[in-house]
Amino acid sequence: MKKRTTSVSPPGADHKSFWFRFSRQLDLQLMVIPAMALILIFSYLPMYGVLMAFQDYDIFQGFLHSPWVGLKHFKMFFEAPEFWTVMRNTFVISALRLLIGFPAPILLALILNEISHLRFKRIIQTVSYLPHFLSWVIVSGFVASMLATDNGSINMLLQRLHLVNEPVNFLSIPEYFWAILIGTGVWKEIGFSAIVYLAAIAGINPEIYEAASIDGASRLKKIWYITLPGITGVITIFIILAVGDILSAGFEDILLLAKNPVLQDVSDVIDTYVYRVGIRNSLFSYAAAVGLFKSVISVVLLTAANMMARKLGRSLW
């Protein structure tokens, strides 16, 4: 940020008044206005709706005429028998995503970067980011039919290889669910997420590599001492954002993959719970309360992550 403002305003302008600086970059400020308006209208204005969480919202009465009930809906959520299951699943699934889903694209980017055959590299890249453009409905359809016991290709393969005698009912065994969910997620997003890291790697000065080669650094050493440090900035930013998102354990993917009620004990997360209990039954206040709870925790986590990062000198703000 600092770099940009100094390049626009002349040196020595910093001590001048706000209005003076503002007028010097009026053209730039005008360009920001549409974006600000967009955020204001679609992100800030509707926020009054979170107050619904403290009401018994009646869709006919509207926001202004619904009775206020304080923390009733929060209490309902905390006392719900599903509460602990939902929280546990949310944290576990998110943690797994952070642990496995987060480093995976970095790894892919590092590997891709080492490929010198350009055509081959491009093909790999294209193939790996294509699944990103498929919707979860389609992907879950693939997964369900591949993992089916009856005529499912995975089971057929395992049986041909004599690894199993009886087909395994993958989508009905709670122990397998997290692996399937995370695995599918990685497969779908790995290529697309790797693009950012590849771009960051491309920004590293090639002379550093040359110098390292002259010093006799091996490939792995170069990755470890040049490439990785070169992209830590990007990685930190994404990690902070991912931590802030830790309560968003996923929605569509879980909803579509965990069709078997047997899986509910391991698959029910905050978002699916809000959808099933709140939205589907038109319990808007309850849904808003749970949603607000989630947002508050997310903000706390995001701030904490940022503070940690600031200590390391790479904070988001």
């Binding site: 009465q61 369900a144 009856d150 989508l171 509910q264 004990d265 099933r276």
Partner: protein
């Protein structure tokens, strides 16, 4: 740029922003609070509204994700209605997101003139908020609904305040349904056509299939394992599949817990045995409709049973028959435990209220006109036009019962006709089951036996005879935003979970302990209170039915 100029510019920008904001907050504020202008029903007590004299236009919303109304007046039937009845309907589509659309319309105060959807929650919500027009003043003035639906059905449709707000669709006095067991003829014959009546026969037969045809699914239970509920229906007399989905067991004057019911327990143990021995589809709970279809259509199942047997079975039957005239499927009488009277096994249920309803909202300018149209639609003439098209195409003249007499075009133009009939089906909002089914049967009788429709044969021969009249259990469930509604949500979750878990249990003992646990959890969630609530509603229904 001078400072003055700059600040002026800034002021303009800020003004513009605040105006935008004001416009937004203004509209969202009034949206919610806007009182609905009550269009008083211009019910001129003397003259009924005559269709065709005064033009009538109304907006219509179908409250289903899957429903899209075809454009009005673009096909022969609605063109005919437009020309002769001067009726125009403007469609409001759900766009695949009915729940959102419905809530948005309420929140913005812009309701359509007619809402067509399921009975229960949504209709009650609208009624309680005073957004629906009572239909009682029109009942006497227009003949058809009263005549065909009958007083008993209308009473059941009435809301708490004693008034009628819902115009029923596909109401009936006769049993109906699509569910049942169908056997794969080829496999059955090759295995020597053993007796298939009791659950013991079923078990032995499935074992035999598993042994002789390892590639075939012995018992395909369809989507969400619907066929598993058939086992409950056959385990004792007068049990029906609907009780499983309502999660209640009637006992005397009371509704009791499903989980502690010995019959339900026995059926789950049996289901567990079949599942454990791989005699039931292992994908029972997770499979999609396409997966079921693929298996049934290719004849890879020995017995197929779910709530849609006559629907999926018809296509599968004709596909298999095309390959092998001896193949295909045959519907058989529902299986049952030894000693249970087969005449008291119910694998289908129907209620006289039919499928869904149309409700006229207070936004309608001419509610009486709309009622007049729906009443005409549910009468003989309206039903003939909307189901078979205008006279002269697929039918010409009627017999003495009002049934249309099919033309040769009807028999020869199968493809084109099926397409048109599917289009007309989207305009069928006041289906008159008795008239349509009666007319179909009249015409079907004239066909030679092998030309008759597989679905019709299966339905009239078996499915309809094994359909339980569940009218008394209609609308007994609480509204979702009530205390009981919250309990219902919990109990439903518990029930879905235990049903699936019981299939995967490793032995009988585990099934029992799972059900014990479910009973405990349900009681903790308030099952008893829910059952009391539902019992009261059920008893009210019984009174309404017996009162007439």
């Amino acid at each position: 740029m001078s400072a003055k100029k700059t600040s002026a510019l800034l002021l303009v920008c800020m003004l513009g922003m605040s105006m935008m904001l004001a416009a937004c907050s203004g509209s969202s504020g009034t949206d919610a609070a806007k009182p609905e202008g009550k269009d008083t029903a211009q019910a001129d007590p003397s003259k009924p509204f005559v269709l065709g004299e005064t033009p009538l236009t109304f907006s219509f919303y179908g409250n289903y994700d899957w429903y899209t109304m075809n454009p009005w007046g673009q096909d022969p039937a609605t063109k005919w209605i437009q020309d002769n009845m001067k009726v125009n309907v403007q469609a409001i589509q759900s766009g695949g997101a009915a729940l959102q659309k419905f809530n948005t319309m309420i929140a913005s105060g812009q309701l359509p003139d007619v809402i067509w959807g399921d009975r229960g929650t949504d209709v009650e919500k609208l009624r309680k908020a005073g957004k629906l027009v009572a239909l009682d003043p029109y009942l006497e003035k227009y003949p058809n609904l009263k005549k065909w639906a009958g007083e008993k059905t209308l009473n059941m449709l009435r809301s708490e305040d004693g008034k009628l707000y819902q115009f029923p669709n596909w109401y009936t006095k006769n049993p109906m349904g699509n569910g049942g067991y169908a056997i794969n003829n080829k496999i059955y014959k090759e295995l020597g056509s053993p007796k298939l009546e009791t659950f013991d026969d079923l078990y032995a037969y499935l074992k035999l299939v598993k042994e002789k045809y390892p590639e075939v699914v012995p018992f395909e239970v369809g989507l969400q394992g619907q066929g598993i509920d058939f086992l409950y229906a056959g385990m004792a007399e007068d049990r029906n599949v609907g009780q499983v989905s309502l999660r209640v067991v009637p006992d005397g004057n009371e509704l009791k817990s499903l989980f502690s019911d010995p019959v339900y327990r026995e059926s789950m143990i049996f289901a567990n045995t079949l599942f454990r021995e791989k005699l039931i589809t292992q994908d029972a709970i997770t499979q999609t409709r396409d997966q079921v279809k693929e298996k049934v259509n290719n004849g890879r199942v020995a017995i197929y049973g779910d709530f849609d047997t006559t629907v999926l079975g018809t296509e599968a039957n004709s596909m298999l028959r095309a390959k092998d005239p001896e193949g295909g499927y045959t519907m058989i009488w529902p299986l049952h435990k030894d000693g249970v009277d087969p005449k008291k096994v119910w694998v289908n249920e129907f209620d006289s209220l039919g499928w869904n309803v149309s409700a006229i909202t207070t936004s309608a300018k001419n509610p009486e006109g709309i009622f007049a149209y729906l009443d005409w639609l549910t009468g003989e003439e309206g039903e003939r036009v909307i189901f078979w098209g205008p006279e002269g195409m697929y039918w010409q003249g009627t017999n003495d019962k009002g049934a249309p007499v099919y033309t040769d075009k009807y028999k020869n133009e199968v493809e084109e006709r099926s397409k048109l009939m599917a289009i007309w089906d989207t305009f069928q909002w006041a289906g008159n089951t008795a008239f349509i089914d009666g007319s179909k049967a009249e015409n079907e009788m004239n066909l030679p036996e092998d030309k008759r429709d597989w679905a019709t044969v299966s339905q009239t021969g078996i499915a309809w005879k094994t359909s339980f009249d569940a009218t008394e259990f209609g609308n007994i469930q609480p509204l979702p935003d009530s205390d009981e509604g919250m309990i219902l949500q919990r109990v439903s979750d518990i029930a879905d979970k235990v049903r699936a878990k019981a299939l995967f249990a490793k032995d009988e003992q585990e099934v029992i302990s799972l059900l014990d646990k479910a009973e405990q959890d349900a009681q903790k969630a308030g099952y008893e209170k829910l059952l009391k609530f539902e019992t009261a509603k059920w008893q009210e229904n019984l009174k309404k039915i017996k009162g007439n």
